[in-house]
């Protein structure tokens, strides 16, 4: 289990014991985290799992994939911290990860 904290745009925090091997999107959907929809089920086709990841643990994330990068380029409210949650797999390395969800998806 890996601790992940989701922070909504209004500051509401929820910490979750996430299952390793699941995607961050699936973790959010399974735990009813508002702001992450995952409409395409993780196919990297919808960008409704857009989130922000900052801090030292961001360096442990896999590089942006080509499709992920392109989908994000056009997403609303994109920043340097933007990621697609469906493209990130939860692992022990990410213990303590903080994930912010954008306002547009609420």
């Amino acid at each position: 289990m890996t601790k992940i904290t989701f922070v909504e745009y209004n500051g509401t925090e929820r910490s979750i014991d996430a299952e390793n091997g699941q995607s961050l999107m699936q973790t959010a959907v399974d735990n009813l985290v508002p702001g992450i929809d995952g409409d395409c089920g993780g196919s990297c086709a919808c960008a409704t799992c857009h989130c922000y990841i900052e801090g030292p643990l961001a360096a442990k994330l896999p590089e942006l994939g080509d499709t992920e990068r392109s989908m994000l380029e056009m997403a609303e409210g994109v920043t340097a911290a933007s990621r697609l949650a469906c493209q990130i797999t939860v692992s022990g390395d990410l213990d303590g990860l903080v994930v912010r969800t954008p306002e547009g998806q609420h």
Partner: protein
């Protein structure tokens, strides 16, 4: 008794309706009635990762069982709604039960159109709509097997791609002169034909199935071209019949789907229809549409839930869809029917391009292959009713982001 909602269905639309009702503040009872043995689940992986054996069944669920418990949903799995009395607002169930409702959401989807030829009841013939369908064909979906896929729509082509990856020998028969005939242009269809043939698919267009015969337990597919193809497995993907019977028998207006207004209301008070089973007015395209896509199912479910929660918001969105075949990501936005010009941006040979469909210079739709930026932009342009000129669209030397509408 406070107001209650009954939802009939077990797909994307039903699952989203539950979530949106609770998110929207609805605190009355919710009963979910689905003929399938599963809580609402996602169908797209059925012809992709689930068929490929790369996704466990639990991952198909839209939301985990705990969600429905937490939301206080009375979920009746494996139960069919067999009768609807729209006047008395009650449903009859296959388990003998009755359910009264204040609001009823019909999210009944559709069922595969049966192959119309003699012999279609051969045990090697399968359809692909449900988890049970995939599980049933799996023993025949094995390396080395000869699989005949009838129909080259998205589902048929996705099955062909997975079959190749798994070492099966796929033959695809398509009655129309090209693949994806209902949705794509000859240019885009030609691209997918080259990709599939290049990958080893025996793709035959302009060929229908005239009969299926039996030879020692295997199917022999007889084509209108006179070929006889022996197959371990036949997968038919020749379209969907919307499940309208429940509504129709109750006297609710149906015409290629259950007819709804912009708020997903049917002709019966308190009854909504959402997803593949519904036929809605599109302001954007100036005609009625019955769409078969996840996006439509999710958004219509949100629309019906919002109306029930007293926050009506008309449904008028740009339709979109995706399909994964081999390493290709196809994203399409809008509807191309009636186009008079196709503009290709990029080089098809590099497997990265976008095909824009225009009518009288107005952008109707895009088919984007490995081009998420063009897809996202086009979706916006279609919505706003303005787009760059055909010449700009076709000029791949201008960065897509720089293309101003």
């Amino acid at each position: 008794m406070s107001a209650n909602v009954v939802i009939v269905g077990g797909g994307h639309a039903a699952g989203q309706a539950v979530a949106s009702l609770r998110q929207g503040g609805f605190d009355g009872g919710i009963t979910l009635v689905t003929a399938e043995q599963s809580l609402p689940y996602q169908r797209p992986p059925l012809s992709k990762a689930y068929l490929a054996g790369e996704l466990p069944r639990e991952r198909l669920l839209m939301r985990p069982p705990a969600f429905y418990e937490g939301a206080g949903v009375d979920a009746r799995l494996g139960v069919e709604a067999t009768g609807l009395d729209a006047g008395r607002r009650s449903l009859t169930l296959s388990d003998g039960g009755q359910l009264a409702y204040h609001h009823l959401i019909l999210a009944t989807g559709g069922r595969p159109r049966p192959l119309p030829c003699p012999g279609a009841d051969h045990p090697a013939v399968h359809y692909l709509r449900t988890i049970a369908d995939v599980d049933a064909m799996r023993p025949r979906f094995v390396q080395g097997a000869r699989i005949v896929i009838v129909g080259a729509g998205y589902i048929g082509l996705e099955v062909a791609a997975v079959a190749i990856k798994h070492g099966l020998q796929p033959v695809v028969l398509e009655m129309a002169p090209m693949v994806l005939a209902r949705v794509a242009s000859p240019e885009v269809a030609g691209f997918f034909e080259r990709v599939h043939r290049g990958a080893g698919v025996d793709l035959r267009t302009g060929v229908a199935v005239s009969a299926i015969e039996d030879r020692d337990g295997k199917a022999v597919v007889v084509s209108t071209a006179g070929d006889r193809i022996e197959a371990d497995l036949v997968v038919a993907g020749v379209g969907l019949l919307p499940n309208v019977e429940l509504a129709q028998a109750a006297g609710i207006d149906c015409d290629n789907g259950i007819v709804v207004d912009a708020f997903c209301r049917t002709s019966a008070p308190g009854v909504y229809a959402v997803g593949d089973c519904s036929n809605h007015p599109s302001h954007l395209y100036g005609r009625r549409l019955r769409l078969e896509s996840v996006h439509n199912a999710l958004e219509q479910a949100k629309t019906a839930a919002a109306d029930i929660c007293g926050k009506p918001q008309a449904y008028d969105q740009v339709p979109w869809f995706w399909s994964d075949q081999y390493e290709l990501k196809l994203q399409t936005a809008g509807l191309s029917q009636g186009y008079d010009q196709v503009v290709i941006r990029g080089d098809m040979a590099t497997r990265s391009f976008a095909a824009f469909y225009l009518k009288d210079g107005r952008l109707l739709a895009v088919d984007a292959v490995n081009r998420p930026i063009e897809f996202t932009l086009a979706k916006r342009w279609i919505k706003d009713g303005k787009a760059p000129s055909a010449q700009q669209l076709g000029d791949d030397s201008i960065e897509a982001k720089a293309l101003a509408a």
